[in-house]
Assembly symmetry: C2
Homo-oligomer: 779 residues x 2
């Protein structure tokens, strides 16, 4: 054994040897898994549970599938596509009206303020500006905090965790959806440095989930054809399509949306899903195009050529050569460092906010107001620092800008002059990005203004993300990155052939890559935003470099947020220490078993005393005293059985046809959120408690199993790849009970494993300590 090997490996190796001889059960620490079953969802702490992506192959369902005729199969396939179409349609409508509202609300605000400033009424202008911002922020914060705390933040971490199999209550409820839409419009309009792309992903997923649930029973919106979708598996597919549609609608980037869902959101992916999400985003793209066609004729108020983030940084004959590559490399490296720094600071601020938020809603709203006022002061105050620039004679557009959007804001400047910092900072984020990215503007901005703008965006976006309101990260990161890139381009000056606007695009790419760590999807999104395929090789280089550099420091922003929030996210990749452990080393007890034919009283007792969601079902064969594993049954199915009260007076075995007499597949369908039955709600008489239930027809007779000596790493691969909720652990030597335990998602979490095996922690820390100097050296 080499000296480099951490000490725990020796320990586990000797354990390995021991395990070959000693009975395994003896040295198992049968402790209860104490890792957290709660997480921060949006702004508040909520209980979470896992989703059932595994098909429960029990006799009842098999029979149900067999009885599905051609019409039902056609219904199912037709509905799949119809739902995708509807999701695409609704998401594009929401995305469009979201933009329409933001452009008009923020537009009116800026037009009124600018007009006051033209009259020299600066104090009044500031008052109007800051009060309207405060009101808008307050509104967003109040509806979020009081009506649906789950709508706070971008929602991407929640949706990502959902697609990984973690169900948080309320994230897809109609209430959250409405708050997210209204709150996002109001927060973005209030000049906070927050984006709308993240909320759009959440909105898209929420719409998809509602469709999948068959509408909302609470609001009387249900449809019989949707009954086949009442399971976690189909709903997961719809939510994936919904998240793709969200990005597609936010950036009008249909291919980018599909790739975003694939690369960042989805944990399981099939080729059929690629096709359906592509269809969904195609619908989004076409409807958006039609709506924009309508708006071009000027019927949408201030939503003119602004609106939807599309930057069209187009210039037909961009050319670059090998000599242009070194500055681009530098841009990528610094972008990566800045991106990881951004992640680091954002997480720190988020932790502080979460600490404060625990004290009460009033504190949550107080912070939102503080940030709003701080933002207003900065946005209004900073442009005064910039010196006025004379209007260029050959300006392509009016100078100073007339109306709302344009490159030359006058602000406090005399006639024939413009304030370059105000053009960036006293504007919506979309317009700022458009100004940064527009071509032939190399002489428009001053170096100092660009630096001020970059620092302001960097700080404000870090402070703003954590407030109790819908708030995305994409647009803030793009605007910060674009200003950083343009700043570098201006610094380089005549040493480079590339235009400043091109540097802005590359800066945005590097900052996105450094913070979000995606590759293909970001590349395509940027291409679709800028509408220029010739940039492709440069964008690829920048993204690869910034991601590589940033990965040396920390992980992607969404993963960090998920960790802060406490979601038990299952990674694909098994950690090396998992190879040294067997499943028997982590499985926790006590195990609760059911018999194939079980007394009602026992079922009720176990359901009431444990919080497990899956139970092994064993059969005791009459000819031998040993019992065999029959399968596993879900808590929700047991509750459905208890609720129907179709009990047997004597312990006897039922056929499937008997089961069909009493139950329909609908009884076992996964309900919408908030409608889940609880064991406490079922009232049974003493007589009923003495009766029996035949669990066989409802037991999943094909559960996935691992032998207790299986290495934890390989069990994780199985658990993750197949998408399980429960994994049965069976004994190696079978003269004991036929099941040793059940592994769930929580048993694979590092906290749990390190809790059981403290030696691993020590060696892990040791390794971290060894890595630290290396990291510092890179810094």
């Amino acid at each position: 054994m080499s000296e480099n090997a951490p000490p725990y490996q020796i320990q586990t190796q000797s354990q390995d040897y021991e395990s070959l001889t000693v009975s395994l059960l003896s040295h198992q620490q049968r402790s209860i898994n104490s890792t957290s079953q709660v997480a921060i969802v949006g702004a508040n702490v909520c209980p979470i549970e896992s989703l059932d992506y595994e098909i429960a192959e029990n006799d009842f369902f098999k029979q149900d599938w067999r009885t599905r005729g051609k019409i039902q199969k056609f219904q199912y396939i037709f509905m799949k596509w119809l739902l995708c179409f509807l999701i695409g349609g609704f998401v594009s409508l929401v995305g469009f009206f979201n933009n329409l509202a933001v452009e008009n609300i923020a537009g009116v605000k800026f037009v009124v303020t600018s007009n006051m400033m033209l009259d020299g009424r600066y104090g009044m202008a500031f008052t109007v500006f800051s009060v309207s911002n405060l009101v808008l922020t307050l509104f967003a914060a109040i509806i979020t905090a009081f009506i649906s705390p789950a709508a706070a933040g971008s929602g991407i971490p929640e949706v990502k965790a959902y697609l990984n199999g973690v169900d948080a209550p309320d994230i897809f409820s109609p209430r959250t959806l409405v708050v997210k839409i209204v709150g996002s419009i109001s927060a973005v309009s209030s000049s906070l440095v927050v984006g709308k792309a993240g909320p759009m992903v959440h909105i898209g997923s929420g719409i998809a989930s509602l469709f999948g649930q068959g509408g909302s029973r609470k609001y009387g919106l249900t449809w019989k054809w949707l009954r086949f979708f009442k399971n976690d598996r189909d709903r997961r597919d719809l939510v994936t399509c919904g998240s793709a549609a969200g990005i597609a609608a936010a950036f009008s980037a249909p291919v980018g949306g599909v790739l975003f869902a694939l690369e960042e959101m989805a944990s399981w992916w099939r080729s059929a899903l690629l096709w359906r999400s592509f269809f969904t985003t195609a619908v989004v793209a076409i409807i958006l195009r039609a709506l924009i066609d309508v708006c071009f004729s000027g019927k949408c108020g201030l939503f003119g050529k602004g609106g939807l983030i599309m930057f069209d940084a187009y210039s037909a004959n961009i050319s670059y050569h090998l000599a242009d590559v070194p500055p681009v490399l530098v841009l990528g490296v610094i972008g990566g460092i800045l991106g990881s720094l951004y992640n680091f600071l954002l997480i720190r601020v988020l932790r502080v906010y979460n600490f404060i938020y625990e004290k009460g809603i009033i504190y949550q709203i107080f912070i939102a107001c503080t940030i709003s006022i701080f933002t207003s002061v900065l946005l209004f105050g900073l442009p005064w620092l910039a010196s006025c620039q004379p209007c260029p004679l050959d300006a392509a557009e009016a100078c100073p800008t007339i109306g709302r959007s344009g490159n030359y804001k006058r602000f406090q400047c005399p006639h024939g002059h413009y304030n370059d910092l105000a053009s960036l900072i006293f504007n919506t984020n979309d317009d700022a990005i458009r100004n940064l990215l527009s071509k032939d503007t190399d002489s428009e901005f001053q170096l100092s203004s660009m630096l001020i703008f970059f620092v302001t965006c960097f700080i404000l976006s870090i402070l703003s993300y954590g407030i109790v309101a819908p708030a995305g990260l994409f647009v803030p990161v793009i605007v910060t990155g674009a200003s950083y890139g343009r700043f570098i381009g201006m610094l380089l000056g005549s040493h480079t052939n590339l235009s400043h606007s091109l540097y802005a695009v590359l800066g945005a790419a590097s900052f996105l890559g450094g913070s979000m760590r995606m590759t293909v999807s970001l590349c395509v999104i940027i291409l679709e935003l800028t509408n220029n395929l010739l940039l492709l090789p440069l964008i690829m280089i920048v993204l690869l470099i910034s991601k590589t550099v940033a990965d040396a420091f920390n992980c992607s922003i969404y993963d960090l947020i998920m960790k802060v929030k406490g979601f038990p996210y299952l990674e694909t990749h098994a950690e090396p220490y998992m190879r040294q452990l067997t499943v028997a080393d982590v499985v926790s007890g006590p195990l609760q078993l059911f018999h194939g034919i079980e007394k009602v009283g026992n079922i009720v007792h176990i359901l009431k005393t444990t919080r497990h969601h899956g139970f092994p079902v064993i059969d005791t064969s009459p000819d031998s005293e040993s019992s065999v594993l029959y399968g596993s049954i879900l808590r929700s199915h047991l509750i459905a059985l208890l609720k129907k009260k179709a009990f047997l007076s004597t312990p006897m075995r039922l056929g499937v046809s008997d089961a069909f007499k009493h139950f329909s597949a609908d009884d076992f369908a996964k309900r919408g959120l908030g409608n889940v039955d609880k064991i406490e709600d079922i009232e049974l008489t003493d007589e009923e408690m003495e009766m029996f239930l035949d669990l066989h027809p409802f037991t999943n007779a094909s559960p996935y199993t691992v032998v207790e000596t299986m290495s934890l790493a390989k069990a994780l691969v199985l658990f993750r790849e197949v998408g399980l909720r429960h994994l049965l652990v069976i004994p190696k030597i079978s003269n004991r009970a036929p099941v040793v335990g059940i592994l769930t998602r929580h048993d694979f979490m590092p906290e749990h494993i390190f809790g059981l095996h403290p030696l691993l922690v020590r060696s892990r820390w040791k390794r971290l300590r060894l890595q630290l100097p290396r990291l510092l050296k890179i810094l």
Copy 2:
């Protein structure tokens, strides 16, 4: 039970019930799996086997991993990226020189022929044209047939099967690589309607595989740092990157290449792989760009603005409205029907060819020659049917064309006139596509010429694919589709606002979608080829529709070819009948077991008498008479053990450290192709045969297992998702042997299952017969 349910379900259901009471072993048909272990690779039939993508977690390897220090880990990671860089570099070089060679060889041919025709020497021109074509085709066919039959065809089905876990000998050998490169150049230059994109994918994968093997030991090209890559898992990742690089180099479509590898090629995909393949294609894009920069200065002979397929069908202000959508829909529907018809006919021709090819190499070459002569006659003869057109006065380029590539070929026409059909047909395929896609050419072509060209391409490409030479399908499909689209556009005439060249793009998309059935990757490839993002929504619609329509008739061309070739490709999706079967219903015997400490003679005997590649290892515990499963061991590891002859004279248990004394990880590394040791090559004395081997340190102690009552569908999900080669089946009641059997890829093949359960076939046919009228109705 409904009347719609097929009869076999009743049968299996009753079997299910029976299985609960009767011992399972008794009614198992322990027949030997008789499905084919051979497949058509390239042009010839070869034996195939599976790949080991599962990590064999035995004590020896665990120990080996532990002893890997930081330097080794760094080496590994560094090499991963370096290899991707090298793959990208080599593939782009090959792709570039491939194009260079084709453009120059075909170019000289066309220039010489055209000059002769200008002098009126038509007979001589035809002779030169047809003889040079014949020589080129003959050369390609001879080197393919005699040196490396595996290089025939596009190679995409073979690579796709490899990435699914099917190893065909010789597909990645250096010999095949060379033949593929030279043969592809020669076949494409010979005016056959064959493409170079498919061969580029094969070449890219071949280069990647050679790098992964650590070069070729046969040719003395090895490198010690590559030792960690000598396993199927790492090689699979490299091959995936290589296939992405192939498409990227063929179309200079880096993002399209990644998506192609993801959507069409790879069966397993991780986010890390996305990143690395993106890096690989970024390298390809950058090197290609640099090389093209060099060629723009005119140093590359006839490879000027032609070369690399990039069509730049650019026009800044394409505009289209809702009214343009209906004709596009029609285009998509017809494209889908044509695409599936194309697949159908191609497969028929391929079957006929394969039937003829079995008779001998001379027949293979005879067919190649026939096709070449037929092609020459058509290409030279058909343009005479077209009437000469007067040159337009405002032509953007010289008319008639001077030199090689251009829109206005003179052919037999008088001065000041051009032959529009010759511009398409008497040209390389790349130039024909460029002419079809170039803008402002609406009046250039006649309707009749376009129809002739479409029919010619359609027929020739179907006939040419099957010849014994490297031949891709992408370019033929694009050229056929573009001519079809343009034909439709011309038919519609003034009823549509879209230009004919736009119809050509959409026609190519519809035909690609109808034949290849990809979505996102084709969309991105077409966008990168045409360099116009504004086309996106239209291309998306066309692709979705043509794929949907075509899917009603048959499956994608590559899947069909794989079926014809007989590759045991594992689908992700389990068929419904699999839910009705348990693994015990399909597992085939007889099972061969080893004991933890086994006699050498037994091992040799079993290895010689069976062709299994994996064996369960059991331990008989001293305290009880029952035996327990210890794990599974691979044939290749057993052979490595036997080869070292480190036998024990008495049956005793070894520690890992003892094992390390005799063996190094290199002994168990997967060798390059053709270097695999065989059991027949190991000679042992009688004395050695009586000695013992301790298999424990080399046995994978964490094999995946399923209980015999597991449904076949769920076992398939496990097998496919985790990427297994062997899946151990363990008994439900454990008073028997600890293993019932081993499932391999072949046990999941429909032929095997239907062979065991003939009732399923009948019901399946019945269902098909029921569907047939429906399909005919759609037609």
